[in-house]
């Protein structure tokens, strides 16, 4: 039996990895992957809590979130593709129209 604290530790580790990746990387695809990592970190957390309380809500939430993540992935990749066509690369510092 794996202790719940381990599951939480894993969740925090995955989430922090994702957050760090979003903050320090410039490649939009990598950042996008990192956002998925953050989502999955949160999912693990939900599962852990659900297991700890012996209730099923957390599992249901996770299913919903996976569906949303899938939809988001499709839109996100489409945006990145369009961005690549316009700017000739996927580095986010190419998106500077909003700069003062």
């Amino acid at each position: 039996m794996i202790p719940v604290s381990w599951i939480f530790a894993l969740s925090v580790l995955v989430f922090a990895t994702g957050a760090l990746g979003v903050l320090i990387r410039k490649n939009a695809i990598v950042m996008f992957l990192c956002i998925e990592l953050m989502l999955n970190g949160a999912n693990i957390f939900f599962v852990g809590v659900s297991k700890m309380r012996g209730a099923a809500e957390g599992h249901i939430f996770v299913l919903f979130m996976m569906a949303i993540a899938a939809a988001e992935a499709a839109i996100g990749m489409a945006i990145i593709t369009a961005f690549y066509r316009r700017k000739g690369g996927v580095e986010v510092d190419r998106a500077d129209l909003m700069k003062w």
Partner: protein
Amino acid sequence: MLKLILAVILIPLAGAMINGLFCWKTKRKAHLIAVPAIAIPAVISLVLFWKVAHGQRFDGTFYWWISVGNFRIPIGFLLDELSAVMIVTVTFVATWIHIYSIGYMDHETDRGYAKYFCYLNFFVFFMLTLVLANNYLLMFVGWEGVGLCSYLLIGYWYEKASAANAGMKAFITNRVGDFGFMIALFLLYKHLGSLIYHDVFASAHELTLPLATLITLLLFMGATGKSAQIPLYVWLPDAMEGPTPVSSLIHAATMVTAGVYMVARSHVLYNLAPFAMEVVASIGAATAMFAASMALVNNDLKRVLAYSTVSQLGYMFVGVGVGAYAAGVFHLFTHAFFKGLMFLCAGSVMHALHGELDMQKMGGLYNKMKITAITFIIGALAISGVPPLAGFWSKDSILHHAFVSGHKIIWFVGTVTAAMTAFYMFRLIFLTFFGEPRDKHIYEIAHENPPVMTIPLMVLAFFSATVGLLALLPGGGFEGFLNRLFEAAHHGAEHAAHGGHEAGGAAVLILISVLVAFMGIGLAYAMYMKHTPDPKKLTERFRPIYTLLYNRYYVDELYFALFINPTVGISRHVLWKIVDVLIIDGIVNGVARLCSLVGNLIRKIHTGFIPDYAWAILVGIIIVCGLKIIF
């Protein structure tokens, strides 16, 4: 009674609304609405007058207009002897002037024709509001309303710069007087707590003498504006830019008499302030003579009549100023007929000559325009005070009261003015209608006008000749009727009631005033028909006086130098260039510049790089969560 009063007031308003809102529909038929809209109230006014003559009065509230705490102003009406006389005069003269206008305005465009009748009805509505109101504030509404209509009608030909300017001049000059009027109303409300005549007059004795004097003088300041007295008379001669029936209705018969009406209406207050009454009488006498002297040399047909109006208004103020309110109002009543008539005659001449107003170019028109000439002569005889025509009775009554109340100087000025009046009126007649035609072309085109214009002339001429006889009715005649109102509030101080019985003295006074009238007429005949003394030679001999009179004492120039140019100068160089451009624009632009500056500083935060925003979000979350944990 209230229903009848409302009908009198609202029918002209309805007429104005129909022509105003549907002028694209009524067009040339505007008079079919406008004339009945005055004629019906005229009939109702006669009914009301008949009721008042039989001792009925009305003072009632239609509804409460303003009701804020203790400040309560009704839309209420007062019908007594004074307002009954006023509504009959206004509606009756207005009816004939409306009919006359059909002929006079037939050259107008469709739209302008309806607009003209709309304004004219609107004017009558406000004038009736003015005279029927039972409180000062509602009177002030009418007071301002007639001023507005006067402005609109003076500037009726607004494409002409002189007409537009004359309208503005009239309006602004009146504002100066209205300023005094309003302060008087504030003082009345402050010290008596009401503006309703009934309450004001009932508690008027509580006013201290200086206060009563101040209030009445301020009210009179309003009257000098509206009724064209020194020093605010300057707008009236320029107001002749409007269509002539307008000059007849507004600037001779009705609106300009509003000041006299107001003083007569406030007689309770004026009786408390002898000094103010002296001022009213003196200003009236001074204006009468001053304006008459300017009429002596003017060559513009309508302007002579305008100065004559100013002069006659002066007489009315002499009347009310010496405490003979009834005589003043009687002169107002007769003057409405004969001056209205003379303006219509002038309009008839002008219409026939395609707008020519210079008397020096006329002459001999009697042969071409017999009706106009004869009716004009009747009007001129009436204003000159030739018995038994209307002006004789009323003017003589004023002079008589001035004399017996001890105002000998004012009586003398008035008598001299009467001679001047007769002179300039007959100078006008001889130059216009008699003698040799001085301009062949103008003589050629002259023709008598259609009946729609000459019938009003004949009707008004008939009344100009006969209304004076009302003075002979039993019970003191016309003035006795009015004195039912004035003497109820005014015991003892009525010198005239006793003086009037000195038949011998009165006869001498009458003889003198008739004599001076004939002297004036005779002199005009000698100068302009016989040329002995020749007016041209006289002009040469008295060149400085002639120039002074001809240029109207340079009063307009003086006002320009003293008030208008400094005002324009201050407006341009201080208010515009400094206050507006520097201060007001500075504040507005400064606020905009400040926003722009702060924005410029703060927008540096937005780098446009996504990781920076992500960092900001992370840091924000950490701070928020940290705060949550700590507290």
